[in-house]
Amino acid sequence: MNFLSDPIKVISTWLTSLLTGWGLSAGLTSVLLSLVGIVLMITAVMVLDIMLVWVERKVVARFQGRLGPNRVGPYGLFQPFPDIIKLIIKEDITPDGADKLVYNMAPIISLGSVIFLWAVVPIAARIYGADLNVALLYMVAAGSLGTLSIIMAGWASNNKYALLGAFRQVAAMISFEIPMVVALLIPTILTGSLSLQVITDKQSGGNWFFLLSPLGALLFLVSAIAELGRSPFDLNEGESEIVSGYHIEYTGMKFGLFYAGELLHAFTFGGFLSILFFGGWHGPAASTYPLLGVFYFVVKAMIGYWVIMWIKYTVPRIRIDHMLMFNWKFLTPLAFALLIVTAVTNSLLKGSSFYMPGMFLSNFLLGWITIEIMRFSSRKQRLAVKAPEPAVQH
């Protein structure tokens, strides 16, 4: 067995032989090894998270024509560490009248709901936490824990702005969950499985689902941004209206946990976008050398993350009624139409040589029809507004 072809297996067999050599029983050893794996995974993700602070700040700066952090270390690379030190030494305030337990639990659940997601992420060939056969639903479940943490924070802060932010965010998250789940069903229809491992493996050799269902990828991206609560859907924070919403009362490291959770969540959704529609870790020579697969996966996830940031720092915030209208009158019907079209096309063309072009064309047609309908209805709205104008002429 070669370290390069299966690093996790090599390390675990070595550790097992070491631990059983010390006289531990086989059951205890496997429990210990799982614990080590969990701790390693969380540590890796958290270290990545620290670097994401730098990435985010640097990329924002580029979008806004600034330089970004550039004093601490080369290219400001060590900027996150002073940030963290600052967060840790800040005063830790629990406001008067706050519900102490709930108030302090909320940031933990917020970050935890994101770290939960990494249990099912296939990082590379033979490197993953668990191969659940319901991984996609697990993802939605972890997202609902995130919703819970927001409403806990909003309520326990004993602050009207916090509660308003939480209400807005929960209303948005619950409604945008529907198009997201439907978008998740599209890779499920294409593979016949809810397991992320199977979904990645079906996309080996450049057979990305993005080519089969570009509209599905777009739907997932939009609803993921709403689920993340990032601009243009960042009504939960809305700095100019409700002074940063549900985490208004949080200081120091508690705020840091929310912030870290948000960044990691965005990166994780970039990763899911790459897994579901862009082949995950698959790339040249990735199945023989898993460490290369890790590299491909991180690069693809970073590109997804970059797209999310790009949208965040380019598009202004929209109003809550527009946002919910956008979901219920546009995104959800489109998602269901796409689901039906994908299912029908998939069962009609499966196995034929027209499969890929047929899927792409059906998506393209659906997108075109949607745009035509939108153009028609927006024209009708414009005409309805313009009509009363000529009444003033004499």
């Binding site: 056969n133 639903l137 939605v140 479940a141 819970l148 806990m152 309520w155 619950i174 809810l194």
Partner: protein, 169 residues
Amino acid sequence: MAASQIIFIFSAALIIASAVMVVSSRNLIHAALWLIAALFGVAILYAVLDAGFLAVVQVVVYIGAIAIMFIFAVMLTHRDMRDSGVQVNPGWPLAAVLSLLTFGGLFAILSKWNGLGNLPAPIPGTTNTLAQLGLALTSPDAYVLPFEVASVLLLAALIGSVYVAMNKK
């Protein structure tokens, strides 16, 4: 003691303790949050019982939707958010006696039954219970009718609740 037994005892303790808090907590938001803890424990039990799909659906449906709806309802129906009066009826001792009697009766009936010490037969590695469940829910000679009726029920509940809660002016 096997690992699954330790997990069972942990989650059973979580369920019972949180359920007691649900019925005894004075603050209704806390009661709803304790309900979430209890439901989470039930989800763990489903995972122990090899029903992974149900475990995840439990979290999505109960914690993601139902519990959050409860929290909303509590917030909407409280005059001030800290309603800290007595939250039980004057007749609560009678209720306690009744529920203890129920538990005693169930316990007595259960301990007479002789299928109790049963251990589960291992599920063969080749069967995919998730696929089986999907087929059972959609095949006409299994449960497609109850499944469709359930979806009609959900639609009716959706329309009905919107109609009932609508502010008719």
